[in-house]
């Protein structure tokens, strides 16, 4: 399979080079063609690489690199940190500068630690990387296509001081390329380079439209992620010091020694994935143009964090004391995100909190560290990416059309923008409807959480809250009166294609969820954990899925013919407003009067409007965030302290008990052989 060693570097280089090209080209038309072409190529390339890599032995493809490539990696890493440092100096933010200096010092310091100088593993594609590749390439490509129509409109009404389209596409495309590089690299210098690269790109994209608030949020994103970067570099140094190598393989081969490094990397991943207490940057990132938000939430950036946790955790199955704390950090985010999402009326913020919540769930799954939980984590990453990509793009489209992202303003959208509303409804239904992936993976996650009843409380409350905020939003969008015919929605072609593509992906994965779970994610988890048959019970559910589909299909057809097709105009009545409804003549006379308005005192015509319930005056977002942040910091401190004391005690224990263990083993062996002899003699006698 030499093909793939060419295709993969090309796949990484494609968006990077394409980004540079898009940055140079001045003609909008040519740039759009280029972006479309790139989107198609990236999607095709991603699927191609995934397919080719499955053909390798054991399904794992690796690429070895010559020793000098390690220096290239370090060079790249230093270069990108230097860029961040320059940015920090330019915006005069001394904290970021400090983190930059620390990182550079760390990387240079790492050079003095003697490691093995041989050829090393540069790229590696295994199951997890394949899932991430598919997510990044397919969802990323759809977002790219959408961005053409969106940015075209956006640029017309862009605020003053906004960056140009050249700048946008240069960063946007590079972002995708760096993410693809991130999920396949095995060598930690390269990994850090891609990691810092995505940080830098997100900074540039959040500040795309200029202005004080935006640049503040961009700086916050850079600050928090630089802090994560410092932890990452620190983790790599610890690893290098303890094992001498600097690829993921070394990390996993001697898990006893490397748990400290792994925990440092995991906390770095928390910053990237915007878990509590680092969530503020992701919420601030909502000021960016919508394709950026979609890219951050669905295809890149935050997925990088959970990817790292998912990669690390299964290798520390013996260290439940540490991994369980990680699971708690995830679970508190799951609950906190869902709780705060219930209090928001800003659509994009609801989506952001829901993303944070789901990322927390993935981290919790990774921390639980059982095959079932791992399969659930993989499923959530992929299903969430598709649904969330679709949702963000829809909200972006709605915002451009109605000029607001408030959920209350989306009232009756179904008959203003039928196509987009249908898409967003598909997206939201896929977050909570039974045969769809998100619900099934949440189901797996809850079943897997049985390992700890305390974790369970978070899971149970979080999952109840999730339903609450989605149901409210769906209700608001489809809240309409009677319209005999749907109006036709004017929508740019690229947006229509991108939304349809994502909706098809959602529906396709939704219908085949059970197959995907049992045939893709379960074997993957089993490979990672080396155990079999963990889904014997859940596999039983195939049957149940069949019943659900069967019943919905039968009743759906019946309903279509009786209620939908047979629907008559005469059936329609006005809503019950205690009989004070306006008359048809009044509606016809004044275009402002709606059929659902009513007469109040003195025959005045009033409009009835009820908003959703947001726990106003009960849950204070700031206060709750503060409490959650405090709890989350506490968990992180416990995580660090626990790891350090645990490693010490473990080392000590290993030293102290080594002779004893040996003698016990000896005794055991002799006893076993004695027993064997005894059994043999009995057998002989019996004969």
């Amino acid at each position: 399979m030499n093909w793939i060693s060419w295709v993969l570097p090309v796949l990484i280089a494609l968006p990077l080079v394409g980004g540079v090209l898009a940055g140079i080209i001045t003609s909008d038309r040519v740039r759009y063609t280029l972006v479309t072409l790139l989107a198609v190529l990236i999607a095709a390339g991603g699927i191609g690489v995934v397919y080719l890599s499955t053909l390798c032995d054991n399904g794992v493809w690796t690429m070895q690199a010559a020793p000098w490539m390690a220096h290239v990696g370090v060079g790249l890493e230093l270069a990108i940190i230097a860029v961040i440092l320059i940015v920090a100096l330019k915006i005069k933010n001394w904290w970021i500068a400090l983190f930059g200096v620390l990182q550079i010092a760390g990387v240079i310091g790492g050079l003095f630690i003697h490691g093995e100088h041989g050829s090393f593993e540069l790229f590696k594609i295994d199951n997890l990387a394949r899932i991430m590749l598919l997510v990044s390439c397919c969802v990323g490509a759809a977002i790219l296509i959408f961005s053409i129509g969106y940015m075209h409109n956006h640029q017309k009404h862009a605020p003053e001081g906004a960056g140009s389209l050249q700048r946008f596409y240069f960063v946007f495309l590079s972002f995708l390329g760096l993410m693809i590089g991130l999920v396949v690299s095995s060598q930690l210098s390269f990994f850090s380079f891609f990691w810092e690269g995505t940080t830098l790109c997100s900074y540039a994209l959040i500040g795309q439209d200029g202005g004080k608030a935006r640049s503040q949020n961009a700086v916050r994103a850079l600050l928090i992620n630089s802090f994560g970067g410092v932890l990452l570099v620190l983790g790599v140094i610890v690893l290098k010091y303890q094992t001498g190598g600097e690829t993921f393989n070394e990390l996993f081969s001697k898990t006893d020694a490397t748990i400290v490094a792994a925990v440092l990397l995991a906390i770095a991943a928390f910053t990237k994935s915007a878990l509590f207490p680092f969530q503020s940057w992701l919420l601030g990132a909502m000021v960016a143009p919508t394709p950026v938000s979609a890219m951050l939430h669905a295809a890149t950036m935050v997925k990088a964090g959970v990817y790292l946790v998912m990669r690390l955790m299964p290798n520390y199955q013996g260290d439940t004391r540490v991994t369980m704390v990680v699971a708690f950090a995830g679970a508190i985010t799951f609950l906190g995100g869902a709780l705060l999402a219930c209090t928001q009326s800003n659509g994009k913020r609801v989506l952001a909190y829901s993303t944070i919540s789901n990322l927390g769930l993935v981290v919790a799954c990774a921390g639980i560290n059982s095959p079932l939980a791992y399969a659930a984590g993989l499923a959530i990453i992929s299903f969430h990416a598709i649904s969330k990509g679709l949702l963000f793009l829809c909200v972006g489209r709605i915002e451009q059309e109605i000029g607001s992202r408030d959920i209350e303003d989306m009232d009756g959208l179904m008959f203003k923008m039928p196509f987009t509303s249908l898409m967003i409804l598909i997206g939201m239904m896929s977050m909570l409807l039974p045969p769809f992936g998100m619900l099934l993976s949440k189901w797996l996650a809850i079943e897997a959480t049985m390992r700890s009843p305390f974790l369970l409380i978070f899971m149970v409350l979080g999952s109840a809250l999730t339903v609450y905020f989605w149901a409210k939003w769906i209700g608001r969008i489809q809240h309409t009166g009677y319209h005999p015919v749907l109006p036709k929605e004017e929508i740019p072609r690229t947006m229509k294609i991108a939304l349809s593509l994502l909706a098809l992906m959602v529906l396709g994965t939704g219908i085949t969820t059970m197959l995907i779970l049992t045939n893709v994610f379960t074997p993957m988890a089993e490979t990672v954990f080396g155990s079999k048959g963990m889904l014997s019970e859940t596999a039983n559910f195939k049957y149940g899925a069949l019943i659900i589909f069967g019943a919905v299909a039968i009743f759906g057809v019946l309903h279509y013919f009786i209620c939908w097709h047979g629907f008559k105009r005469e059936w329609v009545r006005k809503p019950f407003l205690c009989g004070e409804n306006v008359t048809t003549e009044e509606v016809e006379a004044d275009s402002e009067v709606r059929s659902y308005d009513f007469h109040s005192v003195g025959g005045k015509i009033e409009h009835s409007h009820v908003t959703n319930y947001y726990f106003l005056g009960i849950i204070n977002e700031k206060l709750v965030t503060g409490c959650l942040n405090w709890a989350a910091w506490l968990i992180i401190l416990v995580l660090i302290g626990n790891t350090v004391s645990y490693t010490n005690s473990k080392n000590q224990l290993a030293k102290d008990t080594a002779p004893a263990v040996k003698s016990v083993q000896k005794a055991g062996k002799s006893a076993a052989s004695d027993l064997g002899n005894f059994a043999d003699s009995i057998k002989k006698e019996a004969k």
Partner: protein
């Protein structure tokens, strides 16, 4: 089906312009003494769920469209029961400047229950009567609107009294007086009976 519709009349009650006398009597039907639920009658607050519309009070200019809307929002087949004197003719409010008259000026009425207020028994009887009409309507049979025995009289346009009418009124007054006397006598007799 026709048995079902007879066994389950759901009633919505609309107070047009009533003095609340009829309403209180109607609610008394739900109490243990009368227990209208044993006929399957359910008191619902919503015309969309109802089969029978019970109207009390006369119709005025402010509530005529409300009554019409409530009636329109009931699914077919449906019947209207006018409880008491007011929804029949306007009752004692007939001469008010704002009162239009009986309910049948706005919506078709199927059953009139006389009285001011009618007794709960009479109300229940009216609903059972209405249920029969409901079943006829379901079968598609035409139902004639009931003819009121009393001529509706209203304010300034009231026609001059004819001698026949005067005689009728006199007769009615005499009858009422006789009835009152009889009742008085009965009331006086009763304590005596008790004393014995």
């Amino acid at each position: 089906m026709s048995k079902a519709i007879k066994k389950s009349p759901w009633v919505v009650h609309f107070n047009c312009n009533s003095c609340n006398g009829c309403d209180i009597e109607f609610l008394a039907c739900l109490t243990p003494t009368y227990d209208v639920e044993r006929f399957g009658v359910l008191h619902v607050g919503n015309p969309k769920h109802a089969d029978v519309l019970v109207v009390t009070g006369s119709v005025n200019n402010r509530n005529k469209h409300v009554l019409k809307n409530v009636y329109d929002q009931m699914p077919e087949p449906k019947v209207v029961v006018a409880m008491g004197a007011c929804p029949a003719t306007g009752g004692i409010f007939a001469d008010c400047y704002n009162v239009i008259g009986g309910v049948n000026k706005v919506i078709p009425v199927d059953v009139h229950v006389p009285g001011c207020p009618p007794k709960p028994e009479a109300m229940m009887d009216g609903i059972i009567e209405a249920v029969g009409i409901l079943e006829k309507k379901r079968k598609g049979e035409t139902v004639d609107a009931p003819v009121l025995p009393v001529k509706v009289v209203k304010g300034p346009e009231a026609p001059p009294m004819t001698p026949e009418m005067q005689a009728k009124i006199a007769a009615a007054k005499a009858a009422a007086a006789a009835k009152a006397a009889a009742a008085k006598a009965a009331a006086e007799n009763q304590p005596e009976a008790k004393a014995e």
